[in-house]
């Protein structure tokens, strides 16, 4: 069963949340960020090339112009491959673990898996980010030494940064699965 809804991120941009219910114990949430817009790309390219042309008129060295073209191309490729995340996925499987996948604009995918034995809880936390206070979903990991302690906080959906309404949807689904997992793990 697949559902798609549209939300917004903390800056007001549009996000698409795709929820896939594979089974009562396995769910996937897929957040798609807006693609790189042509407007911002042309704006950055124009500023870089105007600055390079300004330097060229000062220095009279034509290497600056070719260097600017080179820098723009390399910068764009690096941005698409290392910075721009198109899609973030959270796959939660009862009794197995939680997997987070980030797909970059160049096609690269980076995956992190946390096994269910280490997961203490999935919560919505508030923190100060830049000049705002934002809500973000995070996975709390158990402390092996102390039974009720938290050893690590793993934030989820870091680059798409959805707002609270989207986070509440994901939080409720995760809590259903975690509650189900707790009842099945405590019963022998």
């Amino acid at each position: 069963m697949e559902e798609e809804r549209s939300f917004s991120d903390i800056c007001g941009g549009r996000l698409a949340l795709q929820r896939r219910y594979y089974s009562p114990s396995c769910r996937e949430f897929c957040l798609s960020c807006p693609r790189l817009s042509l407007r911002s790309l042309t704006a950055v390219t124009c500023t870089v090339w105007l600055a390079a042309y300004g330097l060229f008129t000062l220095c009279e060295n034509s290497m600056i112009l070719s260097a600017a073209i080179f820098i723009t191309l390399l910068g764009l490729l690096g941005y698409l491959h290392f910075v721009k995340i198109d899609q973030e996925t959270l796959l939660i499987i009862d009794s197995l673990g939680i997997q987070m996948t980030s797909s970059y604009a160049s096609g690269k995918e980076s995956t992190t898996f946390i096994e269910m034995g280490k997961v203490k809880d999935v919560v919505i936390n508030e923190a100060i980010y830049m000049q705002k206070v934002i809500y973000y979903l995070c996975i709390l990991l158990k402390d092996p030494v102390e039974p009720h302690g938290i050893s690590q906080v793993v934030p989820v959906f870091q680059s798409s940064k959805p707002r609270l309404d989207c986070l509440i949807e994901v939080y409720r689904s995760c809590q259903e699965i975690l509650a189900h997992q707790k009842t099945t793990s405590t019963s022998p």
Partner: protein
């Protein structure tokens, strides 16, 4: 001096609002004291006083001290940017909350002050409201 300020600022506000009104539209042309005009007047008063104080500071403070103020402001900005990162444990708990003692629950008494764990807080905020909404819908 305050009396003369009060006399000039409402006149400025009236002139301002008169210029802003669209031509050919006979909406309130009177210079009645309205709540919005009072707010505009107060805001203008505050901003003009602030500008005056800034001008006096610029005029009298020596050059070197002004440079120090500017660098201090930039440092303050930088320090504000260095709040805890989002993946730090300090956003959830700290040493005082972890070492707090559980006081025994007494009937008919106000519960003791304690730091509620984040899982409980989340359940109260985000899971309970759905049940309340469902109950309200079923009642109606």
């Amino acid at each position: 001096v305050p009396a003369s300020n009060c006399l000039t600022s409402p006149n400025l506000v009236i002139l301002f609002t008169e210029c802003l009104k669209p031509q050919g539209k006979m909406v309130e042309n009177s210079s009645l004291p309205l709540p919005e005009r009072a707010i505009y007047g107060f805001a203008l008063f505050l901003s003009s006083q602030f500008g005056f104080i800034l001008y006096l500071m610029w005029a009298f403070i020596p050059e070197s001290w002004l440079n120090y103020l500017v660098t201090g402001y930039v440092l303050l900005f930088g320090i504000n940017m260095s709040t805890s990162p989002l993946n730090s444990i300090h956003t959830i708990t700290d040493s005082y909350a972890q070492n707090q003692q559980q006081k025994k629950y007494q009937e008919e008494a106000i519960p003791a002050l304690r730091d509620i764990p984040i899982s409980e807080v989340n359940q109260m905020f985000f899971l309970a409201t759905k049940e309340l909404q469902l109950r309200a819908k079923l009642k109606n």
